[in-house]
């Protein structure tokens, strides 16, 4: 059994390392499915043991692509689900037994904090009022049916992932009106499905920046024109000039950070700054699994530098050996330039992201690799 799991984890680690699976959606789905399998086939007696196990396997997966936030997000989410299921069921047991938690003799916490889900320690006020936070997080009690409940919850989460694109794109009508001119850059499957959905009913034009040297914009252009959307490809340098004719900027991203900043394809920051200059609203479409609880402590560490060959190769002349060539694949985007996030849960202003974080992750899982 354990060997099997090891094998499966190794397999995914290898695929991640060799970039055999790419695209954050696929990575998310594969990770979630693997974790579900680990939970179902490994032997564990308490939620605490399971949490440790998932953390341990999760760290191996995260280490395979440390710059990619998606794997870590899925691990955090699964840990959150385990904690949630455990706490709900444990409390249910307590009530059945008629025993009230020892530390709250007079006023049960339910009375004091009626709106407070009891597990979210970190989202509650400093506990002058509540006693619950005084309890050390304790996941050692055996709980009846825990495994099947957890697996069921994770199954629901996997279904949520699978419906991600349709849940995002179905909101398109609320944001795209007829005869709009929309600018985007690079390629994002989420944005593609969002625009295609809108194109079923509305006529609009898309301007896409090509994003040299990846030229992801060309891919977007071909995908959109195939769906009958009037698309114009422009070089990256024309972004500022063309912005004057644009109504909306709609972008994809690799990751959303805790402050609402993005890690997105190089060039995104420039585009949103140009949009700000022209007071054009910027919308970011992304599945919620891209939301990471990590803050951008160090912007430089967030950009991924790739081989400079595609920018300047050695055939251009001998002088190149003296030149430093910079080719970031993705880099940080400041949250102050983003007006709206559209996730599979709906539209959110950047200022509300902290709440989504609290609802989806536990603070103690933020730094997986550290622990």
């Amino acid at each position: 059994m354990v060997k099997d799991v090891n094998f499966l984890v190794e397999d995914l680690v290898a695929k991640l390392k060799r970039r055999q699976i790419t695209g954050s959606y696929t990575i998310a789905l594969e990770t979630a499915k693997l974790l579900r399998q680990i939970i179902s086939v490994t032997r564990w007696s308490t939620a605490g043991a399971l949490i440790d196990r998932i953390k341990q396997e999760g760290c191996r997966l995260v280490a395979a692509q440390p710059k990619d936030v998606v794997v870590a997000n899925i691990v955090r989410r699964v840990l959150h689900i385990i904690r949630e299921v455990y706490t709900e069921n444990r409390d249910a047991v307590d009530e059945d037994d008629g025993t009230i938690l020892a530390a709250a003799p007079v006023a049960p916490q339910a009375l004091l904090q009626p709106q407070q889900p009891s597990f979210s320690i970190h989202s509650s006020m400093f506990p002058l009022l509540g006693d619950h936070a005084d309890l050390p997080a304790d996941y050692t009690r055996p709980v009846h049916n825990l495994k099947s409940e957890i697996i069921q919850e994770i199954q629901e989460y996997i279904e949520e992932l699978e419906n991600m694109y349709s849940n995002v794109s179905s909101q398109a009508m609320d944001h795209i009106h007829s005869n709009e001119v929309i600018m985007t850059c690079g390629y994002s499957k989420t944005v593609e499905s969002f625009l295609k959905f809108a194109a079923k009913k509305r006529k609009f034009k898309v301007i896409v920046a090509e994003c040299a040297p990846t030229f992801q914009g060309h891919q977007t252009a071909l995908a959109l024109t195939a769906a009958g959307i009037d698309t114009t490809v422009i070089p990256d340098a024309s972004v500022f000039a063309m912005m004057a004719r644009v109504n909306k900027v709609i972008l994809g991203t690799s990751a959303i950070l805790a402050n609402g900043g993005l890690i997105a394809l190089s060039g995104t920051q420039t585009m949103v700054e140009a949009a700000k200059h022209h007071s054009i609203p910027v919308i970011v479409c992304a599945g919620l699994f891209k939301l990471s609880p990590v803050f951008p402590f160090d912007e430089e560490s967030l950009s991924t530098e790739v081989s400079p060959d595609s920018v300047l190769d050695f055939t251009k002349g001998h002088f190149i050996s003296e030149v430093e060539v910079i080719n970031p694949f993705s880099s940080y985007v400041d949250p102050s330039f983003i007006d709206l996030f559209i996730t599979n849960l709906g539209g959110h202003p950047p200022s509300y992201l902290y709440r989504l974080l609290n609802e989806n992750y536990d603070a103690e899982d933020t730094y997986l690799l550290k622990s």
Binding site: V106, H122, S124, M125, G260, S351, Y354
Partner: protein, 324 residues
């Protein structure tokens, strides 16, 4: 009243002085606990009124009551929620909770420091305003973990508390330079981010802090540098100032255009501010000048609190939940 000999304000002052690390809201809670311990009330409603009055007395005795009020309000919230229990149980319960709160308050700063530490990168230059215990905890922790950084600290006239910050930082081996309050614009280009403490964090995520914080935040915003506030969550307060003149600390005497003599009447207390010895002229200035100012949320990048790193919008969420 059976306990006329007990002065809530005096008790508060004693707590503050007995522990230099204690912050005002914690001292306020502790003095209220002390009050309850000595109080006698037969009915629940009498009890509630008594505690409320005591809190009111406490709030009105200090010149700068924002931080103190946060503690009082937090405690009063606990009191009102107990309203239907019996008096003796309620008393005991509140004393337990209050005592536990005070015990835990100290660990608050440590957990903030833990959350804030990753923001302090090697080779960064930080601007710190005045003296703040929680900011010190954060900086000293980062230094203890071998982070290398430099600190500019404002002088913070007239109380000159910046020198205290500088002395403590230097002792910990952190390179540190005191700058004039009016030199903030000059050095801002060199700074990676600004770190300030808080006396109170208000409903919209804005900040009430030592005078000068607001103008530093404006300079930081103009220079597009992050402005981080560090605050324990017990400093969150249900206040929503619209501007400086809407602060509870604002009085007609502050910076009025009357002749200086007419406003020379001593204000309740200046000693709250942990001030250094002030000379005569500075003392006069301090009396006619505001002690704190209000920094609107649009100038604040993030707040480091024991509840996590929050955007200003997260503060309101916590306050709404707390006072629901």
């Amino acid at each position: 009243m059976a306990h006329e000999e007990f002065s809530i304000y005096q008790s508060y002052q004693e707590f503050l002085q007995s522990d230099p690390d204690m912050s005002m809201p914690v001292a306020a809670v502790q003095s209220l606990v002390e009050f309850i311990r000595q109080s006698q009330a037969s009915t629940m409603s009498e009890f509630v009124v008594m505690v409320r009055d005591a809190a009111q007395v406490l709030k009105s005795s200090a010149r700068n009551s924002v931080s103190l009020a946060a503690g009082c309000d937090l405690f009063m919230q606990a009191v009102t929620r107990m309203a239907d229990a019996n008096v003796e149980e309620c008393r005991q319960n509140l004393i337990n909770r209050g005592t536990k709160f005070v015990e835990k308050a100290a660990s608050c700063r440590e957990s903030i420091a833990e959350l804030g530490e990753p923001f302090i990168r090697d080779d960064s230059t930080i601007l710190v305003h005045s003296y703040s215990r929680v900011v010190m905890t954060l900086l000293l922790r980062a230094a203890a973990h071998n982070r290398r950084f430099r600190v500019y600290v404002t002088e913070a006239r007239p109380i000159n508390s910046g020198y205290r910050t500088a002395a403590q930082l230097r002792q910990a081996g952190i390179p540190c330079t005191v700058v004039l309050d009016c030199a903030v614009g000059y050095i801002m280009e060199e700074v990676d981010f600004v770190l300030v403490g808080a006396e109170g964090v208000v409903e919209n995520g804005g900040l009430i802090n030592q005078i000068g914080s607001y103008q530093i935040s404006i300079v930081a915003k103009a220079a597009r540098k992050p402005f981080y506030a560090v605050a324990e969550s017990y400093k969150f307060v249900r206040l929503f100032p619209l501007n400086q003149f809407d602060l509870p600390t604002h009085t007609a005497q502050i910076l009025s255009f009357d002749s200086p003599q007419s406003v020379a009447s001593p204000s309740p207390s200046l000693s709250d501010t942990n001030s250094m010895e002030l000379d005569g002229a500075a003392l006069d200035l301090a009396k006619t000048n505001p002690e704190v100012d209000y920094t609107p949320p649009s100038f604040i990048t993030l707040l480091f609190t024991d509840l996590g790193v929050l955007t200003p919008s997260g503060v309101s969420d916590e306050l709404i939940k707390l006072y629901y």
